[in-house]
Symmetry: C2
Subunit: 215 residues, 2 copies
């Protein structure tokens, strides 16, 4: 199975690296595509290296679009949206993590589909004709979208179960020792309380503002 990830400056790296680990563990061929091959700085300092450009990336079986503060620069970038639309229209599976679903939406790939997104950005899905769904992983026909950041791991395991069968997904889940024990019970706004949500919203807004200002 050939899989392409959109890899762009200030992507939230775990949006990409979580699913990449799941799919790699199952032997998929992974393409990390951007406009050029220079290392790309993520939101976590760490630089990732594209191994394909939009021109050299082959047609893939599965497209995965991660979110992140850097995507504010891409929402009307014709090169990016054209590549997403082109890959997405022919791929067997179209997936996203976090606010990456808004990029799928901007590329015209979510009209009439139910979709997930990071809790702080979910409301924007409607602008693209998508039906916002608060599920952690939302599967509608060949679209499988995940909620915020860490939901990419759950999303990828679900997709692996759909494409390679439950036994393969279970083997990968065991290999990655995915039996999570979060230290707190606050990973969604309805669990976290208003004070924590307000603080997290403010921090996320500062991230996006910093990227917008530097554009």
């Amino acid at each position: 199975m050939k899989i392409a990830f959109l890899l762009y400056p200030h992507v939230t790296q775990l949006d990409l690296t979580g699913p990449a680990q799941v799919f790699a563990a199952s032997g998929a061929e992974l393409f990390f595509a951007w406009k050029d091959l220079a290392p790309v700085r993520t939101d976590a300092t760490l630089e990732l290296v594209p191994n394909a450009t939009f021109e050299t990336c082959p047609r893939v079986d599965l497209l995965c679009v991660p979110g992140g503060p850097g995507q504010v620069r891409l929402m009307s970038d014709p090169l990016v949206l054209r590549w997403l639309a082109d890959q997405g229209q022919q791929a067997r599976w179209v997936t996203s993590v976090c606010s990456g679903s808004l990029l799928l939406g901007a590329a015209g790939l979510l009209k009439g589909y139910r979709a997930a997104s990071h809790w702080n950005y979910r409301e924007h899905l409607a602008a693209f004709g998508a039906l916002a769904d608060d599920g952690r992983v939302v599967h509608d026909r060949n679209r499988v979208t995940g909620g915020g950041v860490t939901a990419g791991i759950d999303m990828a395991l679900r997709v692996l179960a759909l494409t390679a069968g439950d036994a393969e997904a279970q083997q990968v889940q065991l290999q990655l020792e995915y039996a999570p024990q979060p230290p707190f019970n606050c990973g969604r706004p309805e669990l976290a309380g208003e004070g924590l949500v307000a603080l997290a919203r403010a921090r996320l807004a500062r991230q996006v503002a910093a990227i917008s200002a530097s554009a």
Copy 2:
């Protein structure tokens, strides 16, 4: 807070990228250190770029050692073990993910400490004078070690709670929407059953053998 990750060829990238996302979200300064600055290929195809060498990396507050098939080449590498020992002896916190705890052990940093590891490698901890513990996150004095791969996220959030307080760790957990919903209940060998464990062990052995053969 300054944090250094050991970044080496054929590291399991999620061992590193999970905690890196957690610590970055809290504003830590991250160093990804290796012998040189050339891009490093991980076990998931993806290349990560070191931003420090062993010479240029400053003394850090927290050391984090990820595991992965490539570590078989490092278990008696004097440059690597000396850097780990040097950083580990002065750091306020010494941490690992997955089989990275065996590297901590080889560097002499776990003698008399309880420690976690990936379920498939845990038994080797005793050879380094460590006390193998099957916890997902094991905290013994200033050592905090995680189980396999995805346990790095739980480990980092626990460390963040210890170093920056519960409120900060909770905010990061919410920001990363960490309310996991694994698709199966098989992320540990005692949950998975013998057949699945045998398959996963065989696949992991093939990974390590491939790395050893190419060394």
